[in-house]
C-alpha cells in the first residue's frame, strides 16, 4: 500500500509541474500584455502612457525576459515565499485576493460533493435493487435532465423561480443588510437561504451522473456469484446489498472523486458568475478579461493543484477500501 501511494504521489509531481506551466503559458498567450491592456484602460479614462513609460513598466515587471525565466521567477516565488505575484489591476498582492475566495469555492464544492454523495449513493442502490420500478424510471429521467441542463441555465432558472415565486432575495451569499453585520442566527439563516441555489445547481449535475454510475455498478455487482454466496449464508437482503455489492460498487465511485473535483470547480466558476457569488468565478473571469496575468494564473494554478491533490486523495481512499489494490 505504501508503495502504491508513493508511486501515485511521485506521479503527481510531474503533473503539478506540467499544470503550473500550462497555467503560466495560458496567461502568456494573448497578444499584448498587461501593460497594453492597462494603457488601453487609461486611454479610456482620458490618460495616456508614453512609449517610454510603457517600456519602463515592462522592465519593472520583467515582462521582457524569456518565458522560461518569467515562469521560473513566478513559480519559485510561489514555492519559496508564498508570493503569487502582484495583481496589476487591483494593485494588491495576489495572495491577499485569492485565499478567501478559494476557501469559499472549496467550501461550496465540498458541500455540494457531500450533498451529491448523500443523494447519489442511496438512490443509485435503490434504483438498482428495484430495477424498472417507477422509482427507477423517475431517477433515470432525473439523470438525463441533470446531464442535459447546463449549470448556468439551472442557476438562472432557480434564481428566477426563487425570485418570482418564493419572493426570495437571490444572488450573492448574503443580503446587503447582513453583509457587515456580526454573525447571528438570522445571518446564518440568510446565508443558508442564499447557499441552497449554488449547492443544488452543483449537486444536481454531479448527482445525475453519479446515480447512473452507481446504478450501473450495482447492477453489474448484484449479478456476481459472491452475492449469491452471501444470500446462501443466510444474510437478509439489506445486509447482503449494503454489506457486499455496495462495498464493491463504491470502488469505481471512489476513484472518480478526483475527477469530480475539476467538474465541481468548473461548475462553481460559471455558477458563481451567474449568481454573483464571492467565489473564484467572477474574479477569475474579470482577471482573464483584463489579462491580469498573475491573478488569473494563480487561480488556474491553484484550482488545478486542488484537483491533482484530490485525485491523489481518491487514489489513497481507493487503496484503503479495495484490498485488490492495497495488496497488488
Amino acid at each position: 500500500m505504501v508503495g502504491y501511494i508513493t508511486k501515485r504521489a511521485l506521479w503527481a509531481i510531474p503533473t503539478l509541474v506540467f499544470v503550473s506551466f500550462i497555467s503560466f503559458v495560458i496567461i502568456q498567450l494573448p497578444p499584448g500584455d498587461y501593460i497594453t491592456a492597462y494603457a488601453a484602460q487609461l486611454r479610456h479614462g482620458g490618460e495616456y502612457l508614453t512609449e517610454a513609460q510603457e517600456a519602463a513598466m515592462r522592465q519593472q515587471y520583467g515582462l521582457n525576459d524569456p518565458i522560461l525565466v518569467q515562469y521560473w521567477r513566478w513559480i519559485s516565488n510561489i514555492l519559496f515565499r508564498g508570493d503569487f505575484g502582484h495583481s496589476l489591476e487591483w494593485n494588491a498582492p495576489v495572495s491577499s485576493l485569492i485565499w478567501e475566495r478559494l476557501g469559499l469555492t472549496l467550501a461550496i464544492s465540498t458541500l455540494s460533493m457531500v450533498f451529491t454523495w448523500i443523494i447519489a449513493i442511496p438512490v443509485g442502490v435503490y434504483a438498482a435493487t428495484r430495477q424498472y420500478s417507477l422509482f427507477d424510471y423517475l431517477f433515470t429521467v432525473f439523470g438525463f435532465l441533470g446531464k442535459g441542463i447546463p449549470d448556468f441555465l439551472l442557476a438562472l432558472i432557480l434564481m428566477w423561480l426563487g425570485f418570482t415565486w418564493l419572493n426570495m432575495d437571490v444572488g450573492g451569499l448574503l443580503s446587503p443588510r447582513y453583509e457587515s453585520a456580526p454573525w447571528t442566527f438570522d445571518k446564518v439563516l440568510n446565508l443558508l437561504s442564499h447557499l441552497w441555489i449554488p449547492v443544488v445547481v452543483l449537486a444536481t449535475g454531479g448527482a445525475a451522473g453519479l446515480i447512473r454510475v452507481m446504478r450501473a455498478n450495482m447492477l453489474d455487482e448484484m449479478g456476481k456469484p459472491y452475492v449469491e454466496t452471501a444470500y446462501a449464508q443466510g444474510l437478509s437482503e439489506r445486509q447482503v446489498v449494503w454489506g457486499y455489492p455496495v462495498r464493491v460498487a463504491l470502488n469505481p465511485f471512489i476513484s472518480t472523486v478526483g475527477w469530480a473535483l475539476p467538474a465541481l470547480f468548473s461548475g462553481d466558476v460559471i455558477t458563481a458568475v451567474v449568481l454573483n457569488l464571492p467565489t473564484t468565478g467572477p474574479l477569475l473571469l474579470q482577471a482573464l478579461k483584463m489579462q491580469d496575468m498573475y491573478l488569473a494564473g494563480s487561480f488556474i494554478l491553484i484550482l488545478s493543484v486542488f484537483t491533482v491533490v484530490g485525485t491523489l486523495v481518491s487514489d489513497v481512499l481507493l487503496a484503503w477500501s479495495d484490498p485488490r489494490i492495497r495488496y497488488a
Binding site: P14, I26, G148, F152, L156, W160, G267, L285, L288, S304
Partner: protein
C-alpha cells in the same frame, strides 16, 4: 445456468426473419437494434429536422437576425390560433397592442382580440441571400402587415425576433459542436490508435498526457484559452479557434474509447491471422481493425457532441467565446444573464431550452448507438 443465458437472437422472431438475421450485414443489424430504441429514434428524427431547419434558417425564419424593431422590444411570444370567436379562420395570430403604464413607464403588450393576422406561406419580406448565394426576399411564413410582426418566441431588448435568431444560432452552435467533434476525432483517433496499437512507453506517455488534461478543471482552462483570443479578430476565425480550443480538451474521451477497442481487438485471433498472413501494419489497422470499431467510434462521437455544445454555450454565455454579431445559442443567452431581464422576459431563456433538448437528444441517440454498436452482444 445455461438455460438462463440462452437467448434467442431476434425478439420479433418470425420464422423468415430468423433466416434474414444470420445473413444480414453488420450495419443492417446495427440499424435493427437501434430501431428498437424508441427514444433514440425520436432523437434522431428531431436532430435531423433541426439540422434541416438550421441549414435553411434564412428561408424558414420570417425575419433576419439583426433586423431591429424599436417599437416591439421585449414583446412576448405570440400564440398561434385557429378559431376566432368560435369560427375557423385557419392559423392566425392576434395583433399586439402596445401600451405604456403611466405610472411605471413600462411598456406592456396586449393581444388585440379584434384584429386577426392570418399566417401566410411564402411571403415577401426582408431581403437576404438564400444559403448565402441566391438573393431573394421569400420567407416560408409571415404576416402581411406593415406594422405588426409575428414573433413566435417573442423579441429581445432590441425587438429582434427570437425565433429567427434561434434558428440562425442553431447553425453556429450545432456546427461548432460537430466541427469540434471532428477536430477531437482526428486527435483522439490518431493518439488513441497509436496508444492502443503500439502500447509500451508511447501508450504510457499518451495516458499521462490524457491524465494531465483531465486533471485541469475544464471551464477555467477553456476560459483561459478563450480569453487569449483578441476581441478584434474576425468572428469566423474566433469561431474556428473556439472549436479547436474545445476539442483540444475534449479529445481525451474519444482517445480512451479508441485505445480500449484497439487493446481488445489486438488480441483477437483474426487480427493475429491477418498479421501471420503477412499483411502490413497499415493494412491490419485500416482493413481489419478499424471496420470492427467504426460503430463504437460513431457512438462515442455522438456522445461527445453535447460536451462541445455545452462548452461553446458556457463560454459564449460568459462573454469569452463567440461574440455578437455572431448569433449562437450561448450568445443569445447572454441577454438572459440578469434576473431583471429574465423576470421581465422569461422567453429569453428559450435558447437554453433548445440547448437542453439538443444535448438530451444527442445523449439518447448516443446511448442507442452504443447499445446497437455491438449487434451480436446482449
Amino acid at each position: 445456468m445455461a438455460i438462463e443465458t440462452l437467448e434467442a437472437p431476434a425478439t420479433e422472431a418470425a420464422p423468415g426473419r430468423e433466416e434474414q438475421l444470420y445473413t444480414a450485414k453488420p450495419w443492417t443489424l446495427i440499424w435493427w437494434r437501434f430501431r428498437q430504441h424508441r427514444l433514440a429514434v425520436a432523437s434522431l428524427v428531431f436532430l435531423v429536422l433541426l439540422c434541416v431547419a438550421a441549414i435553411f434558417a434564412d428561408f424558414i425564419s420570417p425575419y433576419t437576425p439583426s433586423s431591429i424593431d424599436r417599437l416591439n422590444t421585449f414583446s412576448p411570444p405570440r400564440a398561434v390560433h385557429l378559431f376566432h370567436e368560435g369560427a375557423f379562420k385557419g392559423p392566425f395570430v392576434y395583433a399586439l397592442k402596445r401600451t405604456r403604464d403611466p405610472e411605471t413607464a413600462r411598456v406592456t403588450y396586449e393581444a388585440d382580440r379584434e384584429e386577426i393576422l392570418p399566417i401566410r406561406l411564402f411571403v415577401h419580406g426582408e431581403p437576404y441571400r438564400f444559403l448565402g448565394l441566391v438573393p431573394t426576399d421569400l420567407h416560408l411564413f409571415g404576416v402581411d402587415h406593415r406594422r405588426q410582426r409575428i414573433n413566435l418566441l417573442g423579441t429581445d431588448s432590441l425587438g429582434r425576433d427570437l425565433f429567427t435568431r434561434l434558428l440562425y444560432g442553431a447553425r453556429v452552435t450545432l456546427s461548432a459542436g460537430l466541427v469540434g467533434v471532428a477536430f477531437s476525432f482526428v486527435i483522439g483517433l490518431a493518439l488513441g490508435a497509436v496508444s492502443g496499437y503500439y502500447g509500451g512507453w508511447l501508450d504510457a506517455g499518451i495516458q499521462r498526457l490524457m491524465e494531465f488534461i483531465r486533471s485541469i478543471p475544464t471551464i477555467p482552462l477553456w476560459m483561459g484559452l478563450a480569453a487569449a483570443l483578441p476581441i478584434a479578430w474576425d468572428p469566423l476565425f474566433v469561431y474556428v479557434l473556439i472549436t479547436i480550443i474545445l476539442s483540444l480538451i475534449g479529445w481525451t474521451h474519444l482517445a480512451r474509447v479508441v485505445r480500449g477497442r484497439f487493446f481488445s481487438l489486438k488480441t483477437e485471433d483474426y487480427v493475429l491471422a491477418a498479421r501471420l498472413a503477412g499483411a502490413s501494419e497499415y493494412r491490419v489497422i485500416t482493413k481489419h481493425m478499424l471496420p470492427a470499431m467504426t460503430s463504437y467510434i460513431i457512438a462515442a462521437m455522438t456522445l461527445a457532441v453535447p460536451e462541445m455544445i455545452l462548452g461553446e454555450t458556457a463560454l459564449s454565455f460568459l462573454g469569452l467565446g463567440l461574440r455578437p454579431p455572431v448569433v449562437s445559442w450561448g450568445v443569445l443567452l447572454q441577454e438572459a444573464q440578469n434576473l431583471r431581464t429574465i423576470s421581465l422576459a422569461p422567453w429569453l431563456l428559450a435558447p437554453g431550452a433548445a440547448v437542453v433538448l439538443v444535448v438530451l437528444s444527442f445523449n439518447f441517440m448516443g446511448d442507442g448507438l452504443r447499445d446497437a454498436a455491438d449487434p451480436y452482444g446482449r
